[in-house]
Every structure is written in structure tokens, then in C-alpha cells.
């Protein structure tokens, strides 16, 4: 059925998706908050940048990240000067790339949830002596819970499903950057269709179940 390298790819995929999702929830929250509340003229531009990964081919994102994080790129120069080496073809590089790639799938549901809350509950909380941070934890987060559930599921699932970016940034290094989607590609290249089937069908089942759970538990959080 599944070989050791298959299991290794599955483990790596879940690690990558978990870390990426966690990071995205932390990074995405302030971005979503700003996008939901700002009246700045930059709102449109920043919103568009966040949404870019939805429409760009993953190879384009992968290419630019590769250039930026490479030995001569600005990010590469920075990581080298910090003694971290260069990020491409490492697990860390894969995490950075995935964060960019899945950003809109986390930011947009949270932003929608924040926008749906509106101004009034924040004003009410302020008149009831809650400071802005207090209000965020006691009112905004609980009310935005459906948005966070959607963001978590979509961010996770979308990271699990990435292929092009992984290939560009991570290459195909066993135990380090070879995730399930790449492993399937390898099986198909090697004409190991049975192996490919196990993994591919597993992905279909996993994706279906996760979306089913989302739509049943969270009927209001469907929009992304």
C-alpha cells in the first residue's frame, strides 16, 4: 500500500500545512483587521496584493520567491547576513512560500467576518469600559469565530494541495521538501499508478471530508 517515502511525504505535508496555517492566522489577523476597518486609499492596493495568489500561476509566485530568497536576492542577502543561509530547497523556505501562497485563503474569510461585525459592537464595548484590545478578545474574536474556522480549514487544505510553488522553491528532497502532491507526481512519472492512486484518492477523501465538516459545522462561514 503506502511505502515509507509515502508516509514521510504525508507527515511532511501535514507539518507544513499546520505550521503555515498557524503562522497565517497570526499574520492574517492584523492584515484582515486593517483591510476591514481602514478608510485609507491603500486599501484597494493592499487587498489586491493579498488576493494575487488566487489568480497567479503558482509557478510565477514560486519563481519570484526563488529569486528573492536566492543567494543574490534581497531576502537571501538578509538571511545570509543573519547566518541563516538561504531558504530555497529547505523546509523553512517551503513554509515561507506557503504563507504567501495561502495568504488570501486565510485573510479573506477573517476580513469578511470582521466586516460583518460592523462598528456597533465595538462602540458598545467601548461604552462598557472595554479597551480596544479587550474588545478584540471579548467581542471581535468570538463573533468572528465562523470566519476563523473557514480560514483555518481553507488555509490548511490549500497548503496541502499546493504543487507548483513547492516544486519551484522546495524541489523534491525526501524528508525535507517532498510533500504528497510531489510524491504523487513522482509515482506517475515512474508509472507507479497503484501507488499514485492510494495517495491521490487519499487526498480526494481528505479534501472532501474537511470541506464537508466546514460546510456542516459552519453554514454561515461559506464565503471565502
Amino acid at each position: 500500500m503506502l511505502s515509507d517515502t509515502d508516509w514521510s511525504a504525508i507527515r511532511l505535508t501535514f507539518e507544513l500545512a499546520s505550521i503555515t496555517t498557524l503562522l497565517l492566522l497570526v499574520i492574517g489577523t492584523p492584515i484582515a483587521w486593517w483591510l476591514a476597518r481602514t478608510r485609507s486609499a491603500w486599501k484597494g492596493a493592499i487587498g489586491a496584493v493579498v488576493a494575487l495568489p488566487i489568480v497567479l500561476p503558482p509557478t510565477v509566485i514560486g519563481f519570484y520567491l526563488l529569486v528573492a530568497m536566492g543567494p543574490n536576492g534581497p531576502v537571501g542577502q538578509l538571511t545570509q547576513s543573519l547566518g541563516l543561509g538561504v531558504l530555497p530547497f529547505t523546509f523553512a523556505g517551503l513554509v515561507v512560500a506557503s504563507v504567501f501562497y495561502s495568504l488570501p485563503f486565510v485573510v479573506q474569510p477573517i476580513q469578511n467576518a470582521f466586516e460583518a461585525i460592523g462598528e456597533r459592537p465595538l462602540e458598545v464595548a467601548a461604552t462598557l469600559r472595554a479597551s480596544p484590545f479587550d474588545t478584540f478578545y471579548s467581542v471581535v474574536l468570538p463573533l468572528a469565530r465562523p470566519g476563523y474556522l473557514t480560514a483555518t480549514v481553507l488555509g490548511f487544505a490549500h497548503t496541502v494541495g499546493e504543487f507548483g510553488v513547492v516544486l519551484m522553491i522546495g524541489g523534491n528532497i525526501p524528508d525535507k521538501t517532498r510533500v504528497v502532491s510531489v510524491q504523487i507526481y513522482d509515482h506517475v512519472e515512474a508509472m507507479e499508478y497503484a501507488q499514485a492512486h492510494w495517495l491521490a484518492a487519499g487526498m480526494v477523501a481528505f479534501s472532501f471530508l474537511i470541506l464537508l465538516a466546514l460546510y456542516t459545522l459552519n453554514p454561515t462561514g461559506r464565503r471565502t
Binding site: 459592537p121 462602540e123 467601548a126 461604552t127 462598557l128 469600559r129 472595554a130 467581542v139
Partner: protein, 357 residues
């Protein structure tokens, strides 16, 4: 005592606010005006929800805003009731009530949760969620929630406007209790003359972002120089006590400073302090006492002032009934035919008197 001083100036396209007000530190002050008159903006500016640069606000001796200070909303000891109850949907009624109270230091809690709950009669609702409540119940919870923070001032922005008449009548008695039992000054925004008549002690009339008048309710309502566009609602409110009940005719006598009036007996007990409202259109004027009229309430008065009303056929007459001002609306032809002029002693025939609380 003028405990609240508010000076705000705002200029938006199509809207401006320019007020300099001194308001009493006790009782209910109504900010009255039509929509767009700036009354809600003024209330929001007082709460700090609207930032008005260059404004000045002092409440009970504490500066909340001046050139160098702007106390953030959550640091102002106020209660705010919005037009829609705006309860937190994720919290039970009890948790909603506790939300503000728990954020107030124990030392400055003057209103207990039980007290707020009892005052608004919401004990049976405590363990429910907000979406299971009627509009009137939600608004009562919102008022109790604001009270539970022991505010030094209670700001209410048309708390009854979103409710139908039945719900409104369900809440008004609670607001009156608030007025009678708590010593918290209230700023009450309203465009409904009946609410103002029932609740207010002090009246501020707003029009186009300006305060046209500010003063005790009875006096302010009786001012003829104000273009208070109340239309059919123009009239005065008198304070009195139930002095006699006439069981045979189901009438009650209300004694006030300038005399007494008979009203329908609505079950209010003897000795009870009440307010009666007399609309200008319900007062007619006679130069000699009429003995063969159906009108029950006739008061001897002196004409103080005559002005033209908005319609060219009508005039407003300010009458003095033993020191208490009344306003009558009559036709200009009648005024001319009776040769009415200031100083003349006339009889005010009052066709209808409404007990408002």
C-alpha cells in the same frame, strides 16, 4: 447646578454642529429635534464616539475633552443606550449585564446587578440568549447593562424609536422609575414630543446643528419666540398632584401651581405626583366666563404675549395662569375680533388634558 458643559463645532459638507451648552447635573435632559438636527451627533460627541477636534467637554467637574485632553470612550464613566439594543449575541443576558460591570473597579460600583435587574424587570430573562428576546425586552436589558456600570451620566439615543407603540409603552414606565429612583443625570435624545413630555425635566431644542433653546421643560415649551416646529404637538407640560378623586364621574383633580384641572381618572392614587400635557390647539380663549359650555377646565389667565404661528391663519398666545405658562393656538381672526393684547385678563378654556405620567 450646571454639571455638564459641552462646546462642539463640526463642519461636514451638508451638516454642521455648533453648540455651547450648559446642562443640569440631575434629572432628564431631552435633546429634542428632527432627524438631521445634530442631536445624535452631539450625544456621540459627548460619549467620545465622535471625535470633534477643538471641542470642550466637562462632566461633573472632570474634563473629558479640551485642547490637550481626549479621554477615550472606555475611560469615560458613562452609560450609553443605542437606538437598537445592540446586545452581544454571543453572550447570555446575564453575561451581557456583567460585561460592563466587571470592567468597573469594585470601589466605584454604586448600582448592583440585582438593582439594575429589578429596576428594569428582567429577572426572568437572565439565562436566555439575546436572539430569544423581543425588541422591548432587549432594550430593557441594554438599559440595565448600561446602568450596571454605575455611570455618572446616562446617554440615551432614541432608545424607543425602533419599537412599536406597545413596546414603547412597556418601557416608558421603567424609564420613569429610573428617573425617580436613581440619581444619575440622563441625556435623552428624542424626536417624539410625547416622550419628552413624559420624561424630560430640561429641554434642549436642536435645529440644523444648533441649540435653539435650553431650559426647564415647562418654560421652554411655553416660549413663543422659538420656531419649535412641533406643529400639532405644540403645547405645555405642567407638574401637579392628584388632589381629589370624583368616583361618581370618574374624574381626578390635579392641583398645580396655577390652579387645578380635572382629568379622566386613570387609577392614579391620591397624592401622586403627576404630569399633565396640554396642547396649544386644545386651549381656546374667552373674554367672559362661559357658564353654558361643556368644557370642564376653565382657568383665569393673563395674556403675556401674542405671535403669529407658522400658518398665516393662526396665532399663538402665551397665557399666565397664576405664574404657570400656557400656550393657546387660535385663529388670527379670533384674536383680532376679541381684541386680545398683552395684559388682558381672559379665560383659558381647556378642552383636553392628558395625564402623561
Amino acid at each position: 447646578m450646571n454639571a455638564i458643559q459641552a462646546r462642539f463645532k463640526l463642519d461636514y459638507a451638508g451638516f454642521s454642529l455648533d453648540v455651547d451648552l450648559q446642562l443640569p447635573g440631575r434629572g432628564v435632559t431631552a435633546l429634542f429635534g428632527h432627524s438631521g438636527s445634530g442631536k445624535t451627533t452631539l450625544l456621540r460627541a459627548i460619549a467620545g464616539l465622535e471625535k470633534v477636534p477643538g471641542g470642550f467637554l466637562e462632566v461633573n467637574g472632570t474634563v473629558w475633552q479640551d485642547a490637550t485632553t481626549f479621554l477615550p470612550v472606555h475611560k469615560r464613566p458613562l452609560g450609553y443606550v443605542f437606538q437598537e439594543a445592540s446586545l452581544f449575541p454571543h453572550l447570555s443576558i446575564r453575561r451581557n449585564l456583567e460585561y460592563g460591570m466587571r470592567r468597573v473597579s469594585a470601589g466605584s460600583r454604586q448600582v448592583s446587578l440585582d438593582q439594575a435587574v429589578a429596576l428594569l424587570g428582567i429577572d426572568p430573562l437572565l439565562d436566555r440568549m439575546p436572539d430569544k428576546l423581543s425588541g422591548g425586552e432587549k432594550q430593557r436589558v441594554a438599559i440595565a447593562r448600561a446602568l450596571a456600570t454605575s455611570p455618572r451620566i446616562l446617554l440615551m439615543d432614541e432608545p424607543l424609536a425602533a419599537l412599536d407603540l406597545k413596546r414603547k409603552n412597556e418601557i416608558l414606565p421603567f424609564l420613569e422609575r429610573l428617573h425617580d429612583e436613581l440619581d444619575i443625570p440622563v441625556l435623552y435624545v428624542s424626536h417624539a414630543p410625547d416622550e419628552v413630555a413624559r420624561l424630560a425635566d430640561h429641554l434642549v431644542v436642536m435645529e440644523q446643528g444648533r441649540a435653539l433653546a435650553s431650559g426647564p421643560l415647562g418654560e421652554t415649551l411655553a416660549r413663543l419666540d422659538l420656531p419649535i416646529r412641533l406643529g400639532e404637538d405644540a403645547g405645555v407640560v405642567l407638574e401637579g398632584t392628584i388632589a381629589e378623586l370624583d368616583a361618581e364621574w370618574h374624574l381626578a383633580r390635579v392641583d398645580f401651581a396655577g390652579g387645578s384641572l380635572w382629568v379622566r381618572d386613570s387609577g392614579v392614587p391620591l397624592g401622586q405626583h403627576v404630569r399633565v400635557r396640554i396642547l396649544a390647539r386644545d386651549i381656546s380663549i374667552a373674554r367672559v366666563a362661559q357658564s353654558d359650555s361643556s368644557i370642564l377646565n376653565v382657568l383665569p389667565t393673563t395674556i403675556e404675549q401674542l405671535t403669529d404661528d407658522t400658518h398665516p391663519a393662526l396665532a399663538l398666545v402665551r397665557l399666565n395662569a397664576g405664574g404657570v405658562p400656557l400656550v393657546a393656538r387660535i385663529t388670527r381672526r379670533s384674536a383680532a375680533r376679541l381684541a386680545l393684547c398683552p395684559g388682558l385678563n381672559v379665560w383659558a378654556q381647556i378642552k383636553a388634558v392628558a395625564l402623561v405620567g
